[in-house]
Amino acid sequence: MDFILDYYNYWACILIMLIGLYGVMAKSNLVKKILALGIFQTGILVFYISIGKVEGGTGPVRAAGENVVYSNPLPHALMLTAIVVGVATMAVGLAIVINIRQTYGTADELDIEAIEHERGD
């Protein structure tokens, strides 16, 4: 039980990641797939930020007084970059999905497959 409670933050992250993973695997709508990918990435973001948290630490802004404990700011900075990367990925992904929708008339993977299958090969 302690194993679950002590690491509740990790369990939460893992849960988020798994939800994302399930979405990518099980949803056939490409938009949903990309959203699921976003959820998966969010899980990672939370994971990084939670490992940067120092117990009892304040935000990493210079505070008055001696012996102030700061949280590790580096993961936050990294995640800023990761967010940008994630947004870019999602943008590219959605743009491609829009194109797919315009070309095939559907954004559903199974329908696309059916269309391509009818066309042969």
């Binding site: 998966f40 490992i51 990294l78 970059t81 590219v92 391509e116």
Partner: protein, 508 residues
């Protein structure tokens, strides 16, 4: 000034294509994108050549560059050693040659209105690939991986003018590629948890006490490090397209514009292989990854399966581009097998095959690009009897095919020579047998194409000519280089052995 810039080479090599890519995008619709891209890739090639010389002549055989002059664990450090410098050289060389080739090919496959985007993305992709190779920072590697991947997804999607499946291929590639990158990112997080550092050599150093505490009463972060490495291994296997995580590769290579296929085939997976090597040998150390965790067995199983299955699938293809793509999966198996052996000959084989396969497969994709340019398709039936119509192109393709089989006097033979030596040195006779079977299967799929080219009968008498010289010359250059390195392997072998010695030395 020039002397100063020479010390800046590690940063300059990455920043130049980035800046130029931005300028191309900024200038917009005017069609000077290609000229800028050409000048940039040529310049980058010269710079990487200089860097490799510097690295090899340097006493420690490695150069470290501090971004913003921040000291090592805090800032991002770029680190050039024989391996990274030689991979950079091959990436830059391939980029320059393929860019020269790409002008007409791209113009015929991509709408005019998007050309400036194309060349901008092209340069970004090269930026990312070069950056992955030189960065010494685990997180920076992820970012650069995504820069190259994102531009690649878009470049692949631009193939939709020829075939709409480019779009579905691109989205599949995007989903899987992002997945792989995410796994790598999680792996980095684990290692960061355990060591508190992102600099690759620094992490390696900080892992030592953790390894030392193994098996004692108070093992430190044991599970964290193992889980981190597992995540990274899976993520990078996907980027490398190592069987069974190769699902994205065949379609992406097949439906991308010809020049993009060539660039991807000759550089992207190579850089993935490089990153994997770096993680195993420099980051976690071969003693841990192979000695304690026995990743080498898993890697060998995967690469053996890649060789057999990739070649087998290649035999069954009717689209020659896809055939080459599946053959790439098999060739990646050879590369992975080389570094899974972790001995001098195996590592040399891995690096030398990285170079040789880039030249050979790049050249073959370029040759197919010319077929595409003239005939608009690359199915086996399109190639029927082309040996008489496009003799130079088809000769280049055939010579490349011989290289894939590993016929003597081609560079593929040199690779296989070292690989089999490595297998025997490591006592892996079964892997040597797999290499042998792979050669036989390669013989079959190359043979199918060559037979069609020279002995197939064209039904209709279409007027087909050789492609323009601007496309022909780069192709012949690449294939010629691959033949040259098969006859005189001293340069490539020297570089590859230097890289292998460096990696194995670092591992000890």
């Amino acid at each position: 000034m020039l002397e100063h810039l020479r010390t800046q080479l590690p940063a300059l090599i990455v920043v130049t294509p980035l800046t130029m890519g931005l300028i191309v995008a900024l200038i917009g619709r005017r069609q000077i994108g290609w000229y800028i891209a050409m000048a940039t890739t040529a310049g980058v090639f010269a710079m990487t050549l200089q860097l490799l010389m510097d690295v090899l002549n340097h006493g420690e055989r490695s150069l470290t560059y501090l971004m913003g002059n921040w000291p090592v664990p805090y800032g991002i450090a770029y680190k050039a050693d024989p391996l990274s410098a030689s991979v950079m050289l091959i990436v830059a060389a391939m980029a320059a040659v393929i860019t020269f080739y790409a002008r007409r090919s791209v113009a015929s496959e991509v709408p005019v209105g998007k050309l400036h985007y194309f060349w901008g993305l092209w340069l970004f992709c090269i930026t990312g690939l070069l950056g992955i190779t030189i960065t010494g920072d685990a997180f920076n590697l992820y970012v650069l991986l995504e820069i190259s991947s994102l531009s690649t997804y878009t470049l692949v999607a631009l193939g939709k003018e020829r075939n709409r499946r480019a779009l579905t291929s691109a989205i599949n590639y995007l989903l899987l590629g992002t997945m792989g990158a995410c796994f790598y990112l999680v792996g980095v997080a684990y290692l960061y948890m355990a060591t508190g550092s992102l600099n690759i050599p620094d992490i390696a150093e900080r892992l030592q006490p953790i390894y030392a505490s193994w098996g004692t009463d108070a093992p430190l972060y044991q599970k964290t490090v193992i889980a981190g490495f597992a995540m990274m291994a899976v993520g990078l296997s996907l980027k490398l397209a190592l069987f069974p995580l190769h699902g994205w590769l065949p379609n992406a290579y097949t439906y991308a514009p010809s020049a993009v296929s060539a660039l991807l085939a000759s550089t992207a997976t190579k850089v993935g292989a490089y990153a994997f090597m770096r993680v195993i040998f420099t980051l976690v150390g071969v003693g841990f990854a192979f000695g304690r965790l026995h990743t080498d067995i898993a890697l060998m199983a995967c690469s053996g399966a890649a060789i057999i299955v990739g070649s087998w699938m290649a035999i069954r293809q009717v689209n020659v581009k896809k055939l080459l793509a599946y053959s790439s999966i098999a060739q990646i198996g050879y590369i992975a097998l080389g570094f899974a052996l972790a001995n001098r000959d195996g590592m040399t084989a891995s690096v030398i095959h990285l170079i040789n396969h880039a030249l050979t497969k790049g050249g073959m994709f370029l040759a197919l690009g010319m077929v595409m340019y003239r005939l608009g398709g690359t199915r086996l039936s399109d190639l029927r009897g082309l040996g008489r119509k496009m003799p130079l192109t088809m000769a280049a393709f055939t010579a490349g095919g011989l290289g894939l089989i590993g016929v003597p006097l081609t560079s593929g033979f040199v690779s296989k020579w070292y690989l089999v030596s490595g297998c025997l040195e490591g006592g892996r006779y079964e892997m040597a047998a797999v290499v042998l079977v792979g050669s036989l299967l390669a013989l079959i799929y190359v043979w199918r194409v060559v037979e069609t080219i020279y002995f197939g009968k064209r039904d209709e008498e279409v007027q087909v000519r050789e492609a323009p010289w601007t496309m022909l010359v780069p192709t012949l250059l690449l294939i010629g280089a691959s033949l040259y390195f098969g006859i005189n392997a001293s340069h490539t072998a020297y570089i590859a052995q230097a890289a292998a010695d460096y990696l194995l030395g670092a591992a000890r």
